[in-house]
Symmetry: C2
């Protein structure tokens, strides 16, 4: 961590840091697959037309052009290519293109890099890995998938070496119904203002609501009151009702959010809160919305966000509703490493170095290595018949815990170079402990 990225916004990990990132990715994959999510990958590139399809976006985009071409004016062409800025837009396109080959409700996870053309001086990430899960239906998608996907993410995050987290869940129907109920019709505008609450504070948001959206003092106060409601159980329902606002959409939203919070409070206690300030700005959600904070690291921003789209994609008169969440893997891994929440026990997969007696013993050393590898033990063979002390030093420098010796009579010994203990061993049966077999990612008891 003494290092900084050589190109601002493009982090790269050292081998021992990459072990931690791989552990995170492997863990997410395991949990997602246990819940029936299969993997897909989409190309890194979309057409500019596809990326800007929803109109106004707040993401910066990298356009592509062949270095050997002259026609650099092509950026305005909707068929020009650009790097995806998230995994939702490409997934929506993938679903439409392959609908005939997919079994709906289709559930997939996708762990890939995304790019944002941020200006380097802002010090923001320009390349980072996201891990998304989504369930998408053909025409309809039962609300239960919203409940399920929140539970899957809570389980996945719980399996990572990170401090306590909170999924903050709201429902767009609830907010929009409430705003309509108090007579504010530009619900998207209100949501965008409420989204700024944490950044600019209540007074400023009230002012925005009055000046930009023509809200009265009472309307602004009511909208802000709703946004302050936060409960770890379903008591938010009563608190909203106490505000005395009525609207059918509000009722729908209350019922939906109640289902999520009720299931979560029994199946993932303490991990999910109803938080009626969550708005998700410009994103086109239509029901459940989620943001996630690491407790004590709130300034890091959301580490997992998403929600329900009534129409993730459309094809002719078909719509594909979806619900999904996206984990910011690079953001999480950066924090794990910088705060030392966890570290790798070693940087190499290698458990054993087979030492050489002399230069001619390389082939028989390879035989020993092959026997160990056949049983899943990662093994290297020394390249040179240096003095044993030097070969041990080589293993030590690379972080390899065991060195294997075979004498001229064919007697095998294995030395744990940490303890110095050296024992006779048979390459057909000797096995290191579980902890030494592979690099371990060891979580510290961090707060």
């Amino acid at each position: 961590m003494a290092r900084t990225a050589s190109l601002s916004g493009f982090p790269e990990w050292l081998p021992q840091e990459r072990v931690v990132e791989q552990h995170v990715l492997d863990t997410l994959r395991r949990v997602f697959e246990l819940h029936g999510f299969g993997s897909i990958e989409t190309r890194a590139v979309e057409t500019v037309g596809q990326l800007l399809r929803k109109g106004e976006i707040d993401k910066e985009v990298y356009g592509l052009s062949r270095l050997q071409d002259d026609d650099s004016a092509a950026k305005s062409d909707p068929n020009a290519l650009a790097l995806h800025f998230d995994l939702t837009v490409p997934f929506a396109r993938y679903v439409v293109e392959n609908a005939g080959y997919l079994a709906f409700p289709f559930r997939r996870y996708q762990m890939q890099k995304v790019w944002r053309g941020e200006r380097p001086q802002e010090g923001r990430a320009r390349e980072f890995t996201q891990a998304d899960i989504d369930v998408v239906g053909d025409g309809e998608l039962p609300f239960r998938y919203d409940v399920e996907i929140v539970l899957v993410i809570a389980e996945a995050l719980s399996a990572l070496p990170i401090p306590e987290f909170r999924l903050r869940v709201n429902n767009r129907k609830l907010s929009e119904g409430f705003y309509r109920g108090i007579g504010l019709e530009d619900t998207a505008g209100v949501l965008r203002s409420i989204d700024k609450l944490e950044k600019v504070g209540e007074a400023k948001v009230a002012e925005l609501l009055r000046t930009e959206l023509g809200a009265t003092q009472e309307q602004a106060e009511a909208a802000l009151k709703l946004a302050t409601i936060q409960t770890t159980d379903t008591s938010f329902v009563e608190q909203v009702r106490a505000l005395g606002v009525e609207h059918p959409l509000l009722e729908e939203g209350l019922t939906e959010l109640e289902q999520v919070v009720a299931a979560a409070s029994s199946r993932a206690p303490g991990k999910v809160v109803a938080d009626l300030s969550i708005a998700r700005g410009l994103d086109y959600y239509t029901g459940t919305v989620v943001e996630t904070v690491l407790v004590g690291h709130e300034q890091l921003g959301s580490i997992c966000s998403g929600g329900r789209y009534e129409s993730l994609a459309t094809k002719g008169n078909k719509t594909f509703p979806g619900v999904g969440l996206s984990i910011g893997v690079t953001r999480l891994v950066s924090r794990i490493l910088s705060q030392e929440f966890a570290a790798a026990s070693r940087s190499v997969p290698t458990a054993v170095l087979v030492a050489l007696n002399d230069d001619d013993s390389w082939s028989s050393a390879q035989d020993v290595a092959a026997q160990l590898r056949a049983r899943g033990i990662a093994t290297e063979v020394a390249a040179k018949a240096d003095k044993f002390g030097k070969q041990i030093k080589f293993a030590d420098r690379r972080g390899i815990p065991f060195v294997w010796f075979t004498d001229a009579e064919g007697t095998h010994q294995v030395k744990d170079i940490r303890s110095g203990e050296q024992l006779e061993a048979d390459p057909a049966v000797w096995t290191p402990s579980e902890e030494d077999l592979r690099p371990q990612v060891i979580a510290r008891t961090a707060g």
Copy 2:
């Protein structure tokens, strides 16, 4: 495979195809790690200056520019960003930047996408995945690593569901020493001509050597004679000696190539041939060079190439010699799928669908699912309490082999929906067979 990529040159896989790709990547990772190679990833982006550092390159490059920027003329700027076209250039930069943090000889694998700005009409891949392994030394790197890396790749490829392959190995020192020995000093020029042998034939190459490199008829014939030598054992040494050419570099090359082929013929019999026509065109190798063909699919081109660089990278007066090989994963997976060398047993990770008796049983169904998942069995829960027939049909459509039922008395039964067999089962102990637990990639006996 009835589909074609919606954007020419950017292949995307359906879920069941992705299972095959993941199997290939997982298999390569397992073998690489067993041999002590650790994972790293580099950013997708390099500066144009870095990418074009070696001068003349034959790869097309995609430049990047912020869509929201006007300054699209920046492509000529060496600090402009572009997508990497291979994993060697980024790896060399990574080694130089992080040399102080790496333990040499540093061995890593890297499985990432690379991009080439090919014109779409050529029907060539513009995005594809490579899997590279390299060993790099600080100042020096024993030749034994050349032998080792060929054996590792032979083992890795043998573990994949592909037909027979041949690593075709040569040595630049051997070729260059031979050319010098017969009086041809522009050895790079000769190598470039020899590299065209398979494409244009002997007569044309002889003409190129005479007209472009000023070779005599005898020199051209000698160079071509060398290129026809191909042996599965070390007998190539005698065949080269029989040509009566002498040069110290030739001797060095013969000794090196002999070591590779001797080790391979005993440890990976039939998989490696000495093939003295292998040249590797514009690439800057200095010793061992490798190309790999799938037997019977030679027109596919090389599926794994690489070799020894005396100076993979330099930093001040330090050089970092390396030896590495790169597998064309996308090329291989495309061929596996199009020729049906292998297929996935199902497209979803899910082994069990827990059916619902009624809408209120969702939570107890989740309890059953949690018990199964805790033992590594991927499980989904039905979202709706449809008639059992419909729930079974749902599982069938998604390719899930088992459906779990729990009656009102709490008796559990599990049905194999392929055979129709239904048995009582305990969620705390029931386990499907190894083959049903996860999607399997089943190799056909293909030629």
